[in-house]
């Protein structure tokens, strides 16, 4: 996968302090985070108007069993 800076940020970052939270990535930066996807995305839109935003829920520490 190339040519997608938001994807590359997701792959490189450790996200230690964001585990269990939503994060929004825009132009190679994490621009917002929070407990709610919609609020996190809308906050990012305010910071990066018109730019491509990736929103991701960062996995928690625990082993995931669904």
């Amino acid at each position: 996968m190339s040519g997608n800076s938001n994807y590359e940020v997701f792959m490189k970052e450790g996200f230690g302090k964001y585990k269990g939270k939503w994060i929004a990535i825009c132009e190679k930066n994490i621009v917002s985070s929070g407990e709610n996807a919609k609020e996190t995305f809308e906050k990012a839109q305010g910071i990066c108007p018109g730019k491509k935003i990736m929103i991701v829920k960062i996995p928690e520490e625990h082993t995931m069993i669904y």
Partner: protein, 144 residues
């Protein structure tokens, strides 16, 4: 052509690294804009699953009948819906609709791509040793 993605490594507090088959996708509800996210591909899940707040972001209709769904994590309340997904890599682009269960309770889960509607579009290879997941599109006419 196959699309290949690296696994995402997440280090736990005890230092052990978990390798997770995440892929980048664009998703949208009916009439809404595309939103880019990372989804965990889960061959053990019958259907794709998203948290309620993400469904609200997509503008999905979550006013339908609430049902119970079971996983190893226990029983949760869900609403059945559909969302469109788009997978794009270089000159390849695939857009289709998949069924999704919206978890209506507070949950820790990320966006999960399960089998229904997704695993029948691609031959999916989990190469845990190489830490890669590969998707190979299967044209409809070639399916047995």
């Amino acid at each position: 052509m196959a699309i290949s993605y690296r696994y995402k490594n997440i280090k736990r507090e005890d230092g052990v690294e978990r390798k997770l088959p995440y892929i980048p996708i664009n998703v949208r509800g009916s009439g809404s804009s595309w939103i880019e996210t990372m989804a965990l591909v889960d061959s053990g899940a019958d259907v794709s699953v998203i948290p309620k707040d993400f469904a609200e972001l997509l503008g999905l209709d979550i006013g339908g009948k609430r049902e119970k769904a079971n996983g190893l994590g226990g029983e949760v309340e869900v609403v059945n819906s559909f969302m469109q997904i788009n997978i794009r890599y270089k000159h390849e682009s695939y857009t289709f609709s998949i069924p999704v269960q919206v978890i209506m309770e507070k949950t820790r889960i990320p966006v999960i791509l399960g089998r229904d509607g997704f695993f029948d579009k691609f031959i999916i290879e989990f190469d845990h040793y190489a830490e890669r997941i590969k998707l190979k599109n299967v044209p409809t006419g070639n399916r047995i």
